[in-house]
């Protein structure tokens, strides 16, 4: 059995005694095949009983042990030490708590904000069946309809995407990827009746339209769920349902129109089209500040030479509407159930 000494550089913080987080180093002998969680357990049992982390199922299904390993959010129980060694195995493995959540102690973070957001965005199915008739008969659901929500229902709420999300870095009130994924899962469940209501909640401020398309949620999902696909589908659903009057939707529409018409963005009128006249007035101080720093958007934007080629892309995408998201990197891309009709 292959064996070697490995160093772990672990972020520690006990608010009762420490003024700020610091790093502790532990060097232990590890066998090949050992997971990060086994290594943490070893350190806790043999070297530092005060080392604090969560762990439960040890099989990648409960989501308790998500932490950052060498800067990347992952499950400690399914990550092998050998797979995260760098520098020929001589560099210490960096172990830190999830990002974008308050640290309670060492590697334990407060996940209540995720629970609160799930609640606020009605992350549940409300069936049409009246209460007293529950359990009498099954809904008929086709295999295809099941497959639509199958991958999204793999989510274990581990918080890795929440920790990786770029938007969460700048706005803790942002709805967050797991909650958007749940909204996708519920809104594409043929048994649910809350679609419009949920979508309206999801598209309010700090919601669906704030996603910055960085794809980090999807890249780091511990269950390999193509979360970003779900977010795209929700946006399409918002348009299909006529929810085009929110700032986010208008902003997206303005981008869509400009690129189609001239192949580039007309930045000067963008605030007007997104926020309207009154809303844009609020932007004036920012515009002046930007202007003083030399950030002036071009007043006249010319159409690009090969605009036909851009329109060709639009046409092809239009023809493929409702299909898989182009460029999905996962084996099971999320498909969306065709949605039509507006919301009252």
């Amino acid at each position: 059995m292959e064996r070697r000494e490995v160093s772990f550089r672990i972020q520690r913080y006990n608010p009762q005694v420490d003024r700020a987080p610091f790093y502790d180093n532990f060097r232990i002998a590890v066998e090949k095949g050992i997971t990060i969680l086994r290594a943490l357990n070893y350190i806790k049992e043999h070297l530092e009983p005060r080392l604090t982390f969560r762990a439960f199922c040890q099989a990648g299904i409960c989501g308790s042990c998500a932490i950052r390993i060498n800067g990347v959010s992952r499950l400690a129980c399914t990550t092998q030490v050998w797979d995260v060694l760098t520098g020929g195995g001589d560099d210490p493995i960096l172990i830190e708590p999830l990002d974008n959540l308050e640290v309670i102690r060492d590697l334990v973070v407060d996940i209540d904000p995720i629970m609160e957001k799930l609640k606020r965005n009605q992350s549940w199915v409300k069936p049409a069946i009246p209460e007293e008739e529950l359990g009498r008969k099954e809904h008929i659901v086709s295999d295809e309809q099941f497959e639509t929500i199958n991958a999204a229902s793999d989510c274990i709420l581990c918080g890795s995407c929440y920790s990786e999300c770029s938007m969460m870095q700048v706005n803790r009130d942002y709805i967050s990827p797991p909650v958007l994924l749940k909204a996708f899962r519920m809104n594409n469940d043929t048994r649910d009746t809350l679609g419009c209501q949920r979508l309206r909640e999801v598209t309010t401020d700090n919601g669906l339209w704030d996603c910055a398309h960085c794809y980090k949620c999807m890249e780091h999902c511990t269950k390999k769920i193509p979360i970003m696909d779900g977010i795209h589908h929700l946006r399409e659903e918002a348009f299909a349902r006529g929810m085009t009057h929110t700032e986010g939707a208008r902003h997206a529409q303005a981008f869509f129109d400009d690129i189609r018409d001239i192949g580039r963005l007309k930045e000067v009128t963008l605030p007007l089209r997104t926020k309207g006249v009154l809303g844009s007035l609020g932007m004036v101080p920012l515009a002046i500040k930007m202007g003083l720093k030399g950030r002036k958007p071009p007043l006249l934007v010319k159409r690009i030479p090969d605009i036909e080629r851009v329109r060709d892309i639009y046409d092809r995408l239009e023809a493929d509407r409702g299909g898989e998201v182009v460029g999905a990197i996962h084996e099971l891309p999320l498909r969306s159930a065709p949605r039509s009709g507006g919301c009252l």
């Binding site: 005694v17 095949g33 990648g60 308790s64 069946i129 008929i140 309809q145 099941f146």
Partner: protein, 567 residues
Amino acid sequence: MEHRYDIVIVGAGGGGMFAALEAVRTNPRVSVAVISKVYPTRSHTSAAQGGVNAALGNKDRDDTVELHVFDTVKGSDYLADQDAVDYLCGQAPSVVRELENLGAPFSRFADGTIAQRPFGGTVKDRCCYCADKTGHTLLHTLFEQCLRRGVTFFNEYFLLSLEHADGDCQGVITLNMATSAIETFVAPVVILATGGHAKMYWNRSSNAAGNTGDGQAAALRAGIPLKDMEFIQFHPTGLRKSGLLVTEGARGEGGYLLNRHGERFMARYAPQKMELGPRDLVARSMETEIIEGNGFESDAGSYIELDLRHLGAEAIKKKLPQIRELSMHFEGVDPIEEPIPVRPTAHYSMGGIDATMARTAIRGVYAVGECACVSVHGANRLGGNSLLDILVFGKRAGQEAALEAPERKAHGITPPAVRRAADEIRSYANHERYERYGIIREEMGKAMGDNVGIYRVEERLRTGVDEIHALRERFRRIRLFDTGTVYNTNLIQILELKNMLDLALCVAVTALERQESRGSHYREDFPRRDDGAWHRHSLCTMGSDGEVSLGHKAVTMGKYSLETRSY
């Protein structure tokens, strides 16, 4: 700090959350709190992979509740209480449909009905599933519905004790894990739904780190007997290195068990059902093959191969995606290319808090799911019946609790009881103590695995009892090294170990006592079932001196009388 509720539910797995939902639905005026040492979606219900049994008849049109009852009673080796089994199987179709109605994503047949697959020990294909993540999806569905109903959760609260006054429930004493403060929950009705205790086998167990039987231990100390504790199910297919589980669904879908001669050896043990014999029989057969030298050898111990290759890549990816992932993560084996190395692992506790249709000996206290022994699983549980158990009895307890709570009154929890709990916790940090948690826990797992495992014999069982006694003695000198009050996991480890040691003693003592072989309990020195002497439940109680005394209780029979069990 004192909280007051009409109903307090301890445990937020499938049983606890279904109880909570049903309680608020039955009587919206009762106040309900759910206390859990982990966030609800972390609960071990999530690890149930294969499915939940219900005679829906979507696959085999001629399946009936009666056949489900028969399979369950036979599977239990006739130790199950048949009135409880009747209720379990009778309610199965409606609870499964109810979960479906509330959004649980079940896999589907071509006609759009809930898909059903074959499972071990049954005459019909009745196991409803969602790929190989059934428990996970049921748990999340229940959590979502609890959010919808505004159920109050106290997450990361640890149960310290169950309190009663002359047999009337008063509530529970808990530890707030984030602050280490002792908080009491005064309630006339308490539902214990704390899960199983098979983690006492530690490295030889498929269980989550927290399946330490906290509710069982609290009930035992409060004077409620534990029933049939000797019956621990060893699941046939744990991964060789980690003990993690490969669902019975893998065999349900057609997987083979092979010894090192490439032989499907189950043909010699269960010629009819082959790999889909009941779990006790398959686990024992595998162990026999290994003992007789027919297993594969490796650094990580001897093993048997579970071969899925002939199912094809597509079926494996679609129906067993998690199993494929686990095999790759933990064994470095892709089941599409290679067989999975497996061996039996401690998995499920059939025994638990003695309960009659979820009610216990303390008025106002209910117990449901794996922490309870109702008893529907008897000496051996069928795959697909554990999710069913938590749903059916969770729901029933919730209903009854909602009707009972307004009729009862809790006076409160006495200051001396609270003081005792606080003193105990403080005492662990005493400087004169020196025993280490990790060492005692490791020795406990070994003592149980070596002496109270799949094959049992008097001499080893006596050794097991002695070793657990000795470990409990050493536990009195265990040292809490982390003396902080913020999220003290070292303290939780010690409290869990105390619970496991008390329950391990009950398992070892009752296993020694039962001089017959029945279901999961196999005595090499008494290889036959002995209905004359032992067709009865065993009971354990614990005196204030910490010693266990034994009793027994009759089995409730019904339509099916005692028969030889063969497959």
